[in-house]
């Protein structure tokens, strides 16, 4: 297990998540793509911390990434609920004009 190996796996997770975030139409599936991307960032941050500078302060960065993941999840679910209530849809293509 090396830093390069961890980063390549993290890059693969990020790339798969990017594909999902760009290609999916359902809001919840787009959220899943974003979650995978943050998952890759989390793994890369953990690898950087362990292999480059295993100082306790570096772990705080991982906590921030986890917090960002939580915020993304909560806001995504709230927007999905709002979309469903207002438009009776969960598709991104049917909610392009936010002003309507």
């Amino acid at each position: 297990m090396t830093l390069e190996a961890v980063l390549v796996v993290a890059a693969a997770l990020f790339a798969v998540g990017l594909y999902g975030a760009l290609s999916q139409q359902v809001v919840v599936m787009v959220m899943m793509g974003l979650e995978l991307m943050i998952n890759g960032v989390l793994l890369a941050a953990a690898g950087f911390w362990w292999f480059l500078a295993p100082d306790p302060s570096g772990q705080v960065l991982l906590l921030v990434v986890l917090a960002a993941m939580t915020v993304e999840m909560a806001m995504g679910f709230a927007v999905a609920t709002l979309l469903h209530r207002r438009r009776q849809t969960d598709m991104t293509d049917m909610s392009q004009e936010l002003s309507q």
Partner: protein, 187 residues
């Protein structure tokens, strides 16, 4: 050696499950695949000696997948969530961007001469993290706290059934507010 083998097995599971999220023919299966991917990454973080953060990742993501399952039942009904579907757009562009991002990131990871490790991890990592959060990095947690509160408030406001326009009219001039549900403040 053994840790290296376990790491690569988990890596294959994490990436394969991540791909399965967007290949699976139902949202229910996609949710389970994402949960597997997160658990594999959580165990990898445990292998990197970060027991506290690894466990948080696993627990948080398992709960999140449970919430996602509830959403699928709420918005799609259980049957559509289990039925085959293909709801995508711009696949070629997405694949191109995804492959490009991977080549860029993986190429950088392999070609950059990373510096040598500086310092050694403390014996009690979780204890050290706790001291750090309550000490020098208190500002970070002091910022995350209000952000979480703001997220809760914003989430409730977005998801609430009624809005201020329902109560105060389209121009927000209606006084007093027409509240369909009595029992609010002052009523």
């Amino acid at each position: 050696m053994l840790i290296g083998i376990v790491f690569w097995v988990l890596a294959v599971v994490a990436v394969a499950a991540g791909v399965a999220v967007f290949v699976a023919d139902s949202m229910a299966r996609a949710t389970y695949a994402l949960a597997v991917s997160f658990i594999a990454v959580g165990v990898q973080i445990l292998l990197l000696q970060q027991s506290y953060l690894g466990l948080i990742t696993i627990l948080m993501m398992v709960m999140e997948m449970a919430v996602m399952a509830v959403y699928m039942v709420m918005f799609m009904g259980m049957n559509p969530a289990l039925m085959p579907m293909d709801m995508t757009h711009g696949k070629k562009t997405a694949i191109g961007a995804s492959v490009g991002a991977f080549v860029l990131l993986a190429g950088g990871a392999l070609l950059i001469p990373w510096p040598q490790r500086r310092g050694e991890p403390p014996d009690e990592l979780t204890h050290a993290l706790g001291l750090e959060i309550m000490g020098e990095k208190m500002l970070v947690m002091a910022v995350i706290g209000p952000v979480m509160v703001a997220t809760i408030v914003a989430g409730v406001v977005l998801a609430a059934g009624r809005t201020r326009y329902d109560r105060f009219g389209d121009d927000l001039h209606r006084r007093p507010g027409d509240d369909p549900q009595s029992g609010g403040v002052g009523r």
